[in-house]
Subunit: 270 residues, 2 copies
DNA sequence: CCAAAAGTGTTGAGTATACACCCATGA
DNA sequence: TCATGGGTGTATACTCAACACTTTTGG
């Protein structure tokens, strides 16, 4: 990569290598509607268009760290990450539905606190490498999915982007690059994992009612659920812990629950 | 990336970017035992050690194509690939178990022939980016899994490697880089997908007996299967086509079957 | 006729689904 | 007291797992 030799066009092409980027589809619930966070690009091939936040991977950097760094630049998330041990994040291989045996943690900077302190979920999705995905240069992108429990945790978007906004996943604006594909990929993964893991824990606040959990599933999976059957199954899984407290509102109070474990478990949720 | 400016060490580090490679775990059955193909490295950090075949992605090249090119260099596979349309290969997102909706084909150079002409299965697994995975330089590797129906199709290994050999997956030699991790990942994916897709079609010859199919499942999943239950389920799926012919051997002849579709289907195989 | 592998059904247990009414509260 | 959302049980259909003997051939 040291280009001390003659800089002929042929040599430049031969030496040129694809660049490596990460892009992260960040999901959160806003009033039980699933939204993802988009930024408006200032420059590059898609200037003016919306995209999922991302950027080039640095030399010596873990992919997960690059995703977190770019997410932080776009959202202010992970501000606490380097200072505390609070922000857990896992890139795992819960691929398919093999139970314990397929569970792995990779490139993990810090151990995931088993409790409820971890602030975001991060998982590698797929790597998109079509050279034409960016018409200006060959950028290979490792796509991530991230989940947070409150869209309000996103403070501001740095000067890197023209704007940042939450969009309902069913009504995204036209996206730059191949990000429509990336977004579809992330949504499919989220839907699949909701049904056989407890990742819903990362989309919900520390305490929630059963109705909220059910509404999340019904909304994200876009199909109605039978309340009694759903409750029975989730209860049988033992993942939920009743908090004993009640949420009082306009009508009959609802019991509050939390997830007993926030670490990812392989469970039949549906 | 044009380094016409002063070549200070600081600038070099700042400009340095991770390199991008592909590595492919190639599986095949030899006497119903699952084996994967390893090459012995000549140079680099793992010289002398065994590894899955792979190499750097070229500028402008699809990731799938890079995987095929490196596989071809190591095995002679895909020799027919650029000339004919015969070699189908799909990199899809059959992640989780959503049915049709999650089925996608990405970066696919040629359309997959729906028949039985396709010669190999290729699927992206995961991208490994730990900077320490190669102690000499930061190489990010997109891992692939490939399946072929006959290990004898691997002819020779090019001069790039010191040797190439099939190893039983349960008895791999020490591997270079993080390839032990990559191999485990591939095996988990294969096991998972056997149970909910028809990828077994790519590991078996054009015609096979029911006993061979069952033995494949029992061996790869490392658990015994009930012959009657397995047969009933597979038959009910409608994926198998009885050929009407028989294989004669030492004992009672066995009916021969083929897969009706070789394109990947989401089906409960177990 | 014997050894070896191929082929074939039934039953019982457990799981998934469909379905409707009463309860507790705030307004 | 009424409107609203919270909470609960049962009957049935279906799916999955366990299980053993007969058939066909070559030697």
């Amino acid at each position: 990569m040291t280009a001390a030799a003659a800089d002929t066009p042929a040599r430049r092409v031969r030496l040129a290598r694809p660049r490596l980027a990460v892009d992260t589809v960040l999901f959160a619930l806003e009033g039980e509607r699933l939204r993802s966070y988009l930024v408006q690009l200032k420059q590059g091939a898609g200037a003016g268009k919306w995209a999922f936040p991302g950027g080039l991977v640095r030399h010596g950097e873990l992919l997960d760290d690059a995703a977190r760094r770019e997410l932080a630049a776009a959202t202010g998330l992970y501000d606490d990450w380097r200072s505390q041990d609070a922000a857990g994040s896992v890139t795992d291989s819960l691929d398919g539905r093999l139970a314990e045996s397929s569970f792995r943690r990779i490139s993990q900077t810090r151990s995931l606190a088993p409790g409820l302190t971890s602030s975001a979920y991060l998982e590698q999705l797929f790597t998109f490498g079509d050279p034409s995905r960016d018409p200006l240069e060959h950028v290979v992108s490792v796509a991530y999915m991230a989940l947070i429990d409150d869209p309000a945790r996103v403070r501001a978007c740095s000067g890197k982007y023209a704007a940042g906004e939450w969009y309902e996943v069913s009504a995204l604006p036209p996206l730059a690059y191949d990000h429509a594909l990336v977004g579809g990929y992330a949504l499919n993964r989220l839907r699949a994992k909701l049904s056989y893991t407890n990742i819903a824990a990362y989309l919900l606040p520390p305490s929630f009612t059963f109705a909220e959990l059910e509404e999340l599933y019904a909304n994200v999976l876009e199909r109605p659920l039978d309340r009694r059957n759903f409750r029975r199954r989730v209860m049988a899984s033992g993942l939920l812990r009743p908090l004993g407290r009640m949420r009082r509102g306009a009508h009959r109070p609802a019991a509050l629950y939390s997830f007993a474990q926030r670490s990812v478990q392989m469970i039949e949720m549906l």
